[in-house]
Symmetry: D2
Subunit: 344 residues, 4 copies
């Protein structure tokens, strides 16, 4: 039994780690923290977790694995002192995702406290970095949008099927904005409405550029990423567009078939990425660690269109974190992540 602690369990992401780990056969949750609710029983604050008999504390104490679900900056400050002490850390914030320290100044408006750690931390997109994750003690769990966009585009970028001008139009449920109150997540404001946000640039963009850029041996990617808020609790659907590179795929339906085969080959054997033949719905991933990907071509305009969807709190967060934990601890990768989507 691995002993696990969850820092900031009262965030939606922290609570989701607890929900999933509660049924994990080889894990024992030994402590949960959450500054504002410290001293209360977990089930008082989050009734769906009442079965986990723990009091919310301030200090995670000793554990084999620590999940951090703190805001950026606070996360780095809490994690840096733990590095090198033999503890495995999985950080759900952005603080160790970017390799280039100056990006933290640019996108997150703070000076990274341990830029030297950025190279050794592993970007925890399991399908791209599985072998490094296995040996890592500090995994930077990817953002929810980047998980959907990178998985959707990785095969096309790697195989250079497309020109480097990429558009990612994402639609997200409201839980992605977290449990902190704001007018933007007030029920009557967001219900029955769709809107785009972060038009001046969303913080998840540099992750996409970094990871997709690393997949192509040369050249620059030009990515426009625009997130939209839709009135539902969970789910992200990303629609990705790019012009096809000349001469890479046959014309017409044969091109679509070959494209699909490239995607199937790329994700062959992956337990949680499914290349599907029909347009997927976020509902088909609800509560699961799946990412569904549907690649196709707009034959009239010769454009690649890839649609991906996932549950932002599972494969886009807590689920992928546990998938990474399983790898780090040598467990079967799917352990604790087997349940099917809650449909309808």
């Amino acid at each position: 039994m691995a002993k696990v602690a969850i820092v900031n369990v009262t965030s939606y992401m922290g609570a989701e780690v607890a929900r999933l780990l509660c049924c994990h056969p080889h894990v024992q949750i030994v402590s949960v923290t959450g500054r504002s609710e410290a001293g209360k029983k977990l089930g008082e604050v989050l009734p769906h977790l009442a079965q986990i008999d723990l009091t919310i504390g301030i200090d995670p104490g000793e554990a084999d694995v620590l999940f951090f679900s703190l805001p950026h900056k606070a996360s780095a400050e809490a994690i840096v002192p733990l590095v090198g002490k033999g503890i495995r850390v999985i950080d759900l914030s952005a603080d160790f995702r970017l390799k280039e320290p100056t990006e933290y100044q640019r996108w997150y408006d703070f000076t990274h406290p341990a830029p030297g750690l950025l190279r050794s931390a592993v970007y925890g997109l399991t399908e791209l970095h599985r072998s490094q994750i296995k040996g890592s003690s500090l995994v930077a769990n990817p953002g929810c949008y980047p998980t959907s966009a990178i998985l959707a585009l990785a095969p096309a970028v790697k195989e250079r099927l497309i020109r480097p001008q990429i558009i990612v139009d994402s639609k997200s449920g409201v839980s992605g904005a977290g449990r902190t109150l704001s007018l933007q997540t007030h029920y009557a404001e967001v219900n029955e409405s769709v809107s785009a946000y972060a038009l001046e640039g969303h913080r998840h963009l540099p992750e996409m550029v970094q990871e997709l850029g690393a997949l192509q041996s040369s050249g620059q990617l030009s990515v426009t990423f625009l997130p939209h808020l839709v009135p539902m609790t969970r789910g992200i659907l990303s629609t990705c567009y790019a012009e096809l590179a000349a001469g890479k795929l046959p014309e017409g339906q044969r091109g679509i078939a070959e494209l699909r085969q490239i995607y199937l080959d790329f994700y062959k054997g992956e337990p949680f990425v499914k290349v599907v033949g029909l347009s997927p719905q976020t509902k088909h991933t609800l509560g699961t660690n799946l990412c569904l990907i549907h690649p196709t071509i707009d034959l009239r305009t010769n454009r690649l269109v890839v649609i991906s969807c996932l549950d932002n709190l599972v494969k886009g967060g807590a689920g992928q974190a546990i998938q990474n934990m399983n790898l780090m601890l040598g467990f079967p990768e799917t352990l604790g992540l087997e349940s099917l989507a809650l449909y309808p």
Copy 2:
């Protein structure tokens, strides 16, 4: 008082024409039809219209203006015999929107019964064809998606600000699919889910290409249009992407300001198109004939991004139809369309 009849009032679009006309000061609804519910009082079938004391019939009878809200093909068959009889017809179907008869074969799978009428019918996007609508007796009311996309892109295309590769990513509420039952609009299937549909090409695409194409003096547009279903009843938000043409706009924030001014000038004096400085929400158009448009530039990649939103049943349908009726009958254009958005 103009006498008005509504054909197929039991469709969502027909019912919305009735709702709006009920408060129109210069109009009297004299008859409503709906084959499957004929013989019933209107208020029995549609309780919100109980105040309109009419029985649903089969034949619209005599009227100054007829609104047709039939499915495609059926609409053309019903309208063709009326042409030239001095009746003003506003068709909410697609049957007179496209100028090229062969497009009906290609996109709608039927041979148009009166291809000669296609040239004389006016495409009822009010802001682009106001003067022709005034004198017309057959107005083809635009589709909901094309209204949002064409209004969003018209200034940029007309001023040749962009290269001709255009992506329109639209998000629509479920009422756009109409009142006919289907698993795709069954509550538990569509609630808490987002999905793309019509990946093989949506029927609203040729309208966009026709109208945007007519705005530029030369060259071909290459448009990818992908609609998405989101869990809400009303509203369309279209996000449009294109590379900026070289040398048309200054760099940086000055380019954004100039772009915005071009849009403000283009829609100057328009009662129902508002160029807004912040990312708009569909909620701010709920129940109104407004189209809100927010043009900006992704400065990192030099791409135009235009977001437009509207209520698919009002500016995207019944409201624009009444706006057109007002023009055809010489009424003030905004008559009956003054109410503000239902917020929250």
Copy 3:
């Protein structure tokens, strides 16, 4: 043209007064206030009101009619100094609804600053107090739940059709909780969930007891009122239960018919209360000042069941306030309130 001011326009109720008055033909909104947003243009804070060209202020200034949409206690403090100055005041808070000053201590936890005014203020449930409202300069606009419950039960209580043990089970949309942020109105908390609240007693109960009690000449009512939150923005549906008094109505279907006739007679000529023959939906009142009432009998158990529904922000608030204003100013009662429900 009556000059009207709206105090605390940035609340949902204040904003709804503004939305409805904007199209009122005999009213001019001369000022709007809202402490936290003072100095901003109304359309910046509430884009759907952009057409009303006013800056949010702090002092309402001079006007013929003032609408107050402040929290309780603050409302009384602001209104008391205005009384007797010839201004007509419509208070949307609870501060002048209850006749018995001690009730404010009990239910609202404050000492009423002007208990003497409670008798002269008129409880603005239009259908019950129309003649007093006409001559009043201080109208206490009813709560949203009491409006639905009192209208549902008034004929039965007045005609003594029922025994005095009454249960009111109400279901409300989330906008009733206002625009102030709380975890209870955070989107992801309230979406896809139903719950009861205020089990220890809701503040709207004493209004129901006061008004229903006044309708019967003698005896005590025993009312249990339990509100529930349902995942939608607007609408209240109240289901009311009581045992039938012996010997008042015939048995079987004839009893139901007679009951219905009593309700029809009671509300004869009312423009905004409709007694309907089928179970009503809140959707059929969306955006309107209607209250739909369906009275019936559970013939197996001889219980009265009355279902009423309305839009909590219109007949349950701003709409009824304007209905009252029309009466106070001698305008036709329905002026500015004619639009039909937004369906679907």
Copy 4:
């Protein structure tokens, strides 16, 4: 490994049985049927079940346990020939729930084909009939509403805490209406609306009367049950009201405490019924087999108020069916039902 077949897997209830059994460690799904989709792979029709590699058939074939999720009448016709053949049957329809054959004529409008079986079938409300279920080969799984209402009221009725006049006001998500298309479950009709239905009497009423009646040694219950549709996919919340019987509980808060203790004692050791101290939300049961119950007293009127909630497709259907299967097969009762609620 028990071999299990699911008849009519394409209904929401059948699909939910499959979803839950897929992760059950001691069960193998050997066949699934569904007339209209026979011949297709299960994952084609229900993508969330793609992992279950079966083709939809017509005949369930041989199995240790058969789950039937057919409409009433069809279910009895399919099950009767199987009785006495050593197969264990769990029927999710109403066809074996009622003990009195004439009730089928009255409520379901058909003559029961095997009235003799009604006495031997066990009503599968696990908490009330656990020992009989263990030995049964034909379990009639309870309706979703009766499960919530009977569990809410059983302790009060058994201990004779209340007078026999009972009101059950239930609020249900839309999935309870099944996957068959109807205007009542069309997205735009049901979204943003609440309504009561079945005012003339709902078919789930006789189950409540039968089971609650059996809990009291003498006297007649008078139950009014009114279901409401709320805009969410899953979940039922039932609010139950009754006058307290004289002299059974102390006055004031002590009465509430004693009431709560009676409920805690009644459900002591139950894995899936939790007596909670705060008003529960349906969200806290999403996807789980839990029923949360909150008993309290309206001290002003001396009325019992009990609120219960559950997921209509799990404890209100498929989950309880699997709980019963576990008992019938001698497995631990909670097997396959351990996952926590999907929150938020």
